[in-house]
Symmetry: D2
Subunit: 376 residues, 4 copies
């Protein structure tokens, strides 16, 4: 008698293979689920391995386009950055994978989902919160961390926060010391705060679909060593951990989006939206992509992007992104107003009045508190 069916997020690696075998031994039927979100992996080899280990069925889902459109694009709109530096690459992948896994679980009538994420990290939380949110009746049998030796080995070095990361750690980005000596110049066109097209200005090459755009930005960013960070971050559960990340395409998009957004968005709307973006980043980091508050914040951020359209030119070189210029039919930049040669309907006396009114409060404060409070 089977104890029920488990949908296992399977990677083909040692950990999830052990979990597969262990779940079988415990009396479960196991369906292996492989999500392709762009990682470099031999999915057919993994399918064969899963079948050999006793998986009743194997599903391989190509989630790349929906990952870009449903998860990366909203993060670009939000300028999502956790603790001022981390671009949330892993954090947004988990709800994408878990959403698909839950769909399979519902379709196959499975009562259980399982995954290989450790009990100490954020990924278990992100995975399980998504599953509970989208499929409240589901259970997640405890995922043993069968063998983390390989990871532990690497972690071993990096766990000392003082140790420098080894040069061969990075997979997506070239070492800037070895990257090309001439920049690539890109033009990214935005509409509703998301990229519609990217053009390599010198080569004339361009990409139009979300997946192609993002892949191309990863390629160019990777070629020039863009987007490497080495940080200590605060996990949801409160402990600090060290993270080394490479986000080449995301880093280019963050810079370009910040530019076109400030160019086209009202100053005060931007301030409010900036706060919502910080909230969004925390929610996503903590695993609450599928929550009423994240739905609400995403809705509000999306609303703020209505006029965020236009083109940004930038160069990518030796680990850096340099904004070169921008244009937009929705620009709130008024060349005449800003020019020092043109007075327009800007009356300098108004500025004096503005300043004096702003100073009413400061003068009153000074009158009452005296100079003493101002100088330390």
């Amino acid at each position: 008698m089977s104890k029920g069916t488990v949908i296992l997020a399977y990677s083909g690696g040692l950990d999830t293979s052990c979990i597969l075998v262990w779940l079988k031994e415990q009396g479960y039927d196991v369906i292996a689920f492989l999500a392709n979100i762009g990682q470099d992996e031999d999915f057919e080899a993994a399918r064969i391995k899963a079948e050999k280990l006793g998986a009743k069925k194997v599903f391989i889902e190509d989630l790349r386009s929906e990952f870009v459109e449903d998860f990366i694009w909203p993060s670009v709109q939000a300028n999502a950055v956790y603790e001022d530096r981390y671009l949330l690459g892993t954090a947004i992948a988990r709800p994408c994978i878990a959403r698909s896994q839950v769909e399979i679980a519902r379709r196959e009538g499975a009562q259980f989902v399982s995954h290989g994420a450790t009990g100490k990290g954020n990924d278990q939380i992100r995975f399980e919160l998504t599953c509970y949110a989208l499929y409240p009746e589901v259970e997640a049998p405890w995922s043993m961390d069968a063998n983390l030796m390989h990871i532990s080995y690497e972690s071993g070095i990096l766990e000392n926060p003082k140790s420098h990361a080894p040069a061969d750690l990075y997979l997506m980005t070239k070492n800037p010391e070895d990257s090309p000596n001439t920049p690539d110049v890109l033009e990214i066109e935005f509409g509703n705060g998301v990229p519609l097209k990217v053009t390599n200005v010198k080569e004339g090459k361009s990409k139009n679909s979300p997946l192609d755009i993002f892949s191309y930005l990863n390629e160019i960013g990777g070629k020039h060593g863009v987007g490497r960070i080495d940080i200590v971050e605060n996990r949801f559960i409160g402990m600090k951990s060290r993270g080394i990340y490479e986000t080449p395409g995301g880093t280019i998009l963050l810079q370009a989006h910040l530019d076109i957004e400030t160019f086209t968005m009202d100053k005060e709307v931007r301030r409010i939206k900036q706060g919502l973006g910080i909230k969004f980043s925390e929610l996503v980091y903590n695993g609450f992509w599928y929550s009423p508050e994240c739905d609400f914040v995403r809705h509000c951020i999306n609303k703020s992007q209505e006029n965020v359209q236009g083109k940004v030119q930038l160069s990518v070189f030796k680990g850096q992104v340099y904004i070169l210029g921008r244009e937009s039919p929705k620009s709130l930049y008024n060349e005449e107003l800003v020019s020092m040669d043109v007075q327009g309907n800007y009356d300098p006396c108004d500025a004096s009045g503005f300043i004096r009114i702003n100073a009413v409060r400061l003068r009153e404060h000074h009158r009452l508190q005296g100079v003493s409070s101002i100088k330390k």
Copy 2:
């Protein structure tokens, strides 16, 4: 009969020379004031010029150390960045200069202060707000923008936000394309959130005083082309303008401070302090350095820095700053807790309980709203 004495912030340039002459013509006594905050200028030549044009007295004040200690250091503590990118270099110089100018005005019994900042920009506001806050009885006679041809010429090109900045615009930073092909590796030691010492790891050279530290970081950052940005920003008065800035030393310090701060500061304190830092940046940008709210925010931020001490190693290369490692006696990073090999007193069951409690609300929401609300 003199109409009174004016302290004029004098640069030696055409604009403020015209203002000096004009003020004399209007019947004021003029005292010229030159503030040395580290700019590249021939102060003695300016003194002679001011005297020739009829200045009653000339004061040259070396404000470099107090600029670093009283204005730059609090901004480092705050991770002060305006609109996600601008490091506020000009914005923090104004209150420093105006404070000194007001001191002279009080000492000399002058009723007026004057400056060359235009009526359309932020600098007039920053200058005048500081003067009113520190010397409420003072007046600031209207500063005519005598001749802005030179500036207008440059502005002319950059005022079109689409135009690329000319390569020879930058004064402090090398073009990263021409910068050295080997990185410099620095170790910065922090105490109370401000740098106490910087050491060039390979060369063994180190700097200890605030002014020396900051100057050295400017030198190294400049040599490697660090800290250039081209942005469109929102001025206090609501119009958008383009700004091109280079902040080599400030950019290195921002990265290093973010690193040591996250390493030593409690997660939730950091979140609250992050909000205060954004507020601080807006206040400073808008000219409210000397205001009750900025005093309050600075006090709170300074309190948050009590444990921000330790050393950060970083490399500077081709326009980028790469954090390499960090150590601190106040570290909240627990190598044992984070290790996957050590269970310690971390019980995996607790994580499951934590997740299930966090999911109570999500499940309830799902129960009531149905899947429809979650999938778009």
Copy 3:
């Protein structure tokens, strides 16, 4: 030759009558505009007076329904309260009146608008900002404060913040000492966060249209002396002033809306929305109803109200509103989950895990900082 046409917000009182005459003398054609937003006034007498004083035309507009639906209802959704106490009655009336005045100005081809609000208060700002936002080409000729004796007389007493307000000051609310000795019990039904119906439970009487509902709540609140406050507030321009307000219907709605909102809105959405409501209140107080940021905030708040529906029962008595109970088809309150007698699928062990995970950070902090930091 006329200098042009002015639309004057005319009240029939001494101040605006003087302005009317003065504008005529200056050579303007004057169109008098009277807005009925529910104040107790003889509009026909005012029309005759305006015509006698030389108004070219007189428009009397009944704005009561649009005031309730377009301005009061969004404020109810926002729980709009300025500085924790003021319900913004005057602040939301100004943009309503100015919007209508601008419509007339456009229709009549008038280049000018005028009003009787003083140069020291918020109302001038609110009025003029609305006009500039909705009709950027308009001008507002300076409104002289012809004769403020009567107001000054009253102000004279209240300007001393220590003086108690005279008992006969209030117009809308009974003195609670003289109000009925038995409460009225109301049931208010909400949909999308605004009241759809109010029923007097004992009398069986009910009201359905926005204007009738709000008028009835004013009547009942006024009868029981609800909604009087005596505060010192911070005006936009930075000075403090004393305000005495009576908002009977608004106070009842605030309490009822807070209740049904917390009953039906997710906890974390509520937190974010609370911040947006504070922002909304500041914007409205400062005169920015018609601004991109207030549009944005209103949109987000309105989105948050989708599930805010249900019925609240409350009693009104001697200046107080007491919530008695509530029900809703969208309630997120789960009677079973909350009951101590029912375990349901809530496992007490989960709470322990939740607490221990929350304590990881606290224990680490204690381990490093010691007890000393906790006890003062």
Copy 4:
């Protein structure tokens, strides 16, 4: 052989008596701890009962003064209100009790603490988080909810959120319908944002010590039926529950403190402090009184109270608190500036300039987006 010593927070009631017996049966030595925080209880009877049931020792601690000074006063400074209505009475009692309990545990060398709070509520969290924060090595053996029949009976009615609360539920406050027909008028004097003295203006009676002041405000508030609320609130763990609270003294203090604070605190400092107060309320509600972030927030709030001093007159009547007037040597209210009869150094032209500068952005927005975006 004893399994160790448990400090049990003992109330003398059925629940904690059962826990005492059960702990003994499990092989623990039990020390009973009774905290007097002002509740109406026969402590000597409880002592005898505990001894009879086998408690090894019994400690009765009078925590009333430290409860007022260390916990209530900081909450008054913060204007602490959870979800716009709840004054946090229970939430601030828990860390006070647990702090004392931990002190005894350390002194007696006990490894365990125990309490009678249920696993579904906030109180278990508040209790245990405090213990872990102050005594990281401690354990808290699971507290069985021996018999909650009595509570469940009452809860049974109130758990239906639609049911009205029975009239005899309230213990501290008179029903406003039966309260006196004449108000009491109080004058409360503040220093550093906390009450220093309360005087009954008519009777001439006054109180000076923190405990006496707070007890007297409870007495007067209770006599007039002040501070009753019936709300649905969001618990930390995400479920909604209904709460009926009476906070007579706290409600008077909240109103008085809001008044004197706005009178003496700079407008912009107040805005920042308001945000910190909301944060403080959430932290305290969730049990994080003893956390680095709550320490930090309390420090900042305390700093903001430096000038919050002066006297507030108010009347208390039929469930309401009416502010009548205020005075302060630190008032930022300038009677001359606010007066319409005195021009002072306030130039009406400045207001026009101020408004026009504020409108620059609005006009630009209108120019680009058109009227369509403003009218729905």
